[in-house]
């Protein structure tokens, strides 16, 4: 008899959720005793609120920052694994408008969503000198970017660039924030502290299963997972999924750096502390937070699934 | 004929002041006996409608009191306001049905009575019309039919016949008297017509304006109310008396 748990993602089903679907599809979770239901997110579906409300057991965290903020507010949400070593947040521009991330400062406007304002936009201002007036509200429509040559737009590595190219025919330039120094983990697995205390085996199964799922998804046969993704989101095309998988591999989003030895999901105190220091510097967080309360290395860095990598 | 019944209603020193300034009634005293037919007569704005509304319990007096020696205000009261006061969304027959409906009678069970009342005021052909399709006098007649349909023990009427032609008016005068004779009800009646007041009432209360007050009560000792009475010398004398009283009242104001 498997334990039923729910995992809430941050958006409609897409390639970035592939590993979780993979583990659900091929029985990896079931093998260690979990019946996982994936609850897709959406424009305003707030799975984090569901996590706090106790309606789901795990939710997908946006970035390390989320964990720090939880600490700041004294909310017992803990990141137990970091699937994305790099935040796939990008700035998309018309081709040839900028050479480096630093050049983006010269753009007239950048379309940044509300969540971005609170996270990377503050960092961009501090680290690169963007001006508050340069921000335009991003409403998840690329039309303003396409209409204005000298604008930039926030995006998710595998989504916005793909759609812009598909609609317009030209290939936009893409600047990965992670490569510019925004060293947050992303797509973390979050759960409540009591869950860790009371049911560590459940957490362990989910973390390990997810890591294995991601290896299989990236390097193995991922058709079953993609079928699930397309079932949850009938709009998803094979082409888009392929683009996403490719981009994740190309930019080393999931599997790069620490994961080479510690396995997918790896987190280190150093990287956390480094990013926290940056956030303190830009004023997004106060000094002196016990950031270790916001994550735990208890379940990761054990090389789980390394054997699945070809 | 009447005026000999027990007192049903007493106004004792009733004063009504509107907005703390307009004194609509000043220390009005009036005793209404079972079976009385009382007319209120007086210049426009002297407080006749106000007196009627006070009796109906629609507002409390500013000073003084209104007593119902028989216990309490009778439930079966018929009333004709100075304005027709019809429900615009209901047809004529549904409007007349209202007082019966409020007693729980279904329309089917009282349809005959409703149509009888409408026939009385000469509107049988307009049962299905809406108020807006009626002339001024016709609306008023619907209001009269509504007051009559319950055959109430006490009727308050505020210039019910003012908008009617003299022949219809005379007919309704007769009908009213006939109904009164039949069911022995008590009527309090506001009118501007001296003739009408003399013809109909046992007692005529002449009022003066600003402040509204009773200046004279005139009893009409008539045995019968018919053409003979109307053409009698007594009738002519009484109308002269009442007109005179009214003239005095106007001067006094």
């Amino acid at each position: 008899q498997n334990t039923a748990v729910k995992f809430g993602t941050n958006w409609v089903a897409q390639a970035e959720h592939g590993g979780f679907y993979q583990a659900a599809a091929d029985g990896t979770y079931a093998a260690c005793g979990l019946d996982v239901t994936i609850v897709p997110g959406g424009p305003q579906v707030n799975n984090r609120a569901s996590l706090l409300a106790g309606q789901i057991e795990f939710s997908m965290g946006g970035s390390s920052l989320d964990a720090f903020m939880a600490v700041q507010e004294g909310v017992p949400v803990v990141a137990v694994s970091a699937i994305f070593q790099k935040d796939p947040q990008v700035i998309v521009t018309h081709p040839g408008k900028a050479e480096t991330f630093a050049d983006l400062v010269k753009l007239d406007k950048l379309l940044i969503g509300d969540a971005g304002v609170i996270t990377f936009w503050a960092w961009m201002q501090k680290a690169y000198g963007f001006k508050p007036e340069q921000r335009e509200v991003y409403t998840f429509s690329a039309a303003p970017l396409i209409a204005n040559e000298n604008w930039g737009m926030q995006g998710y590595l595998s989504s916005e660039p793909f759609f812009v190219e598909k609609e317009t025919g030209w290939k936009p330039d893409v600047f990965l924030m992670a490569d510019a120094g925004y060293t947050a983990y992303s797509t973390t697995i979050e759960t409540m502290a009591p869950t860790i205390a009371e049911k560590p085996e459940v957490v362990k199964c989910f973390v390990d299963g997810s890591a294995k799922g991601w290896y299989n998804y990236l390097y193995g046969d991922n058709t079953a997972a993609n079928a699930l993704i397309k079932a949850d989101n009938p709009e998803m095309s094979d082409e888009a999924i392929a683009y996403g998988v490719n981009a994740m591999k190309e930019y080393g989003i999931v599997d790069s750096g620490d994961t080479e030895t510690m396995g997918i999901g790896a987190m280190t105190d150093e990287k956390m502390a480094d990013f926290y220091a940056k956030m303190v510097e830009v004023g997004a967080l106060p000094e002196g937070l016990d950031i270790k309360a916001g994550y735990t290395l208890q379940f990761v860095n054990q090389g789980v699934g390394l054997d699945l990598k070809p | 004929m009447s005026g000999e019944g027990a007192a049903v209603l007493q106004m004792q020193g009733v004063t009504k002041v509107f907005n703390g300034q307009v004194m609509a009634l000043q220390a009005m005293n009036l005793t209404v006996n079972e079976g009385d037919f009382i007319s209120l007569l007086g210049p426009s704005g002297c407080g006749k409608s106000t007196a009627l509304r006070l009796m109906a319990g629609l507002m409390p007096p500013t000073q003084g009191r209104i007593l119902w020696p028989g216990g309490q205000r009778p439930g079966d009261l018929g009333v004709v306001f100075q304005e027709p006061t019809l429900m615009p969304w209901a047809t004529v027959e549904k409007n007349v049905w209202l007082p019966l409906r409020l007693r729980g009678e279904s329309f089917a069970s009282v349809k005959d009575r409703v149509h009888e009342a409408l026939a009385l005021v000469g509107l049988d052909g307009f049962a299905a019309a809406y108020p807006r399709e009626l002339s001024g006098g016709m609306k008023m007649r619907v209001s009269i039919a509504r007051a009559m349909v319950t055959r109430p023990r006490l009727i308050l009427m505020d210039e019910p016949f003012a908008a009617l032609d003299e022949i219809t008016r005379q007919k309704l005068n007769d009908d009213l008297l006939a109904m009164k004779a039949q069911i022995g009800c008590t009527v309090i009646f506001v009118t501007h017509s001296v003739f009408e007041s003399v013809f109909l009432s046992d007692r005529i209360v002449v009022m003066a304006a600003r402040p509204g007050r009773v200046v004279q009560e005139i009893a009409v000792p008539a045995a019968t109310r018919d053409l003979a009475f109307r053409t009698s010398a007594e009738y002519a004398a009484l109308t002269r008396d009442v007109s005179g009283a009214l003239g005095h009242a106007m001067e006094a104001a």
Binding site: V12, P43, N46, A49, S159, E167, D232 | T85
Partner: protein, 283 residues
């Protein structure tokens, strides 16, 4: 010189002329707005064509129409989902709005206690309420309905309250004289009197419950795979499938206009016999 008022020519041709004008009026009543719609679609097409607007900024009407046909199955399902929620939301808005209006009218104590909360519900942004709704309401349909209801009930409450309060004083007096119970006064006098006001509120709430159904979908989502128009719009916008976004928006617009037409027709049916706002005066 003799001038004639309104009726210059002999009797029969007079009547004829009036009848003819009436007939032309009836035709124009439909022709003009239809032409206006055609003209605005034409202007849109022309604008797109003349300035060579790229389709991902503003697609041409033809493109949108085509997309509507192509996506008809998907959009049809979404439309049906949204319609169902709209209808239910309007239903609960009417019940809740009229119910509260009656409660407030019957008890001014209740009004003083609860009216502030009704106002608060009206003004609190749904997006902010959503987490609480998530917390305390399990059933997805209930969540959606609560959201849509919050958006739509207030105009009905407010207008019905106004109507109940405006009841003619003389008629109220009449009811008092005839010893009508509060209930009877409500049923036979106040509610009919408030009907035009209520129907005015309904016309506003009709549109708002559509808005509510859509916003609710944004805010609390609709469970499972049956997505409404809101989801399709957002998704299409996200994928830059602008023609589909427009197709979905046009469906929303058409539904909105149809709801308005339906509530107006209901108004007319209930009022044209007696209320000044609806009577076509006999001339």
């Amino acid at each position: 010189m003799t001038m004639v008022l309104e009726t210059a020519t002999p009797v029969d041709s007079d009547e004829l002329a009036r009848a003819q004008i009436a007939r032309r009026d009836r035709i124009m009543r439909w022709l003009i707005p239809a032409l206006a719609v055609v003209a605005s679609i034409g202007a849109w097409a022309l604008y797109v064509w003349a300035y060579d607007i790229p389709h991902y900024q503003l697609p041409s009407p033809a493109r949108v129409a085509n997309q509507l046909l192509v996506d008809w199955q998907m959009l049809g399902v979404a439309l049906w989902v949204t319609l169902k929620i709209t209808a239910m939301a309007l239903g609960v808005a009417v019940l809740g709005g009229v119910g509260l209006a009656i409660l407030f009218n019957q008890s001014s104590t209740a009004e003083r206690i609860f009216l502030p909360y009704a106002v608060i519900l009206q003004v609190t942004p749904l997006i902010a309420l959503a987490p609480l709704i998530f917390l305390y309401v399990e059933a997805p349909l209930a969540r959606v309905l609560i959201c849509a209801w919050i958006v739509a009930f207030f105009p009905i409450l407010s207008n019905t309250t106004l109507g109940l309060k405006s009841t003619d004083h003389n008629l109220t007096d009449l009811f008092q004289i005839y010893r009508a119970s509060r209930w009877q006064r409500l049923i036979h006098l106040q509610l009919p009197w408030a009907l035009p006001y209520f129907l005015g509120g309904l016309r506003i709430a009709g549109g708002l419950s559509l808005v509510g159904a859509i916003v609710a979908e944004y805010v609390v989502g609709i469970s499972g795979t049956s997505s409404g128009l809101a989801f399709r719009i957002l998704e299409a916008s996200y994928r830059l499938n602008v023609p589909r976004m427009f197709a979905a928006m046009i469906l929303v617009a058409v539904v909105g206009v149809l709801i308005y037409a339906a509530t107006s027709a209901l108004s007319w049916a209930l009022l044209h016999k007696w209320h000044e706002s609806a009577i076509r005066r006999e001339r």
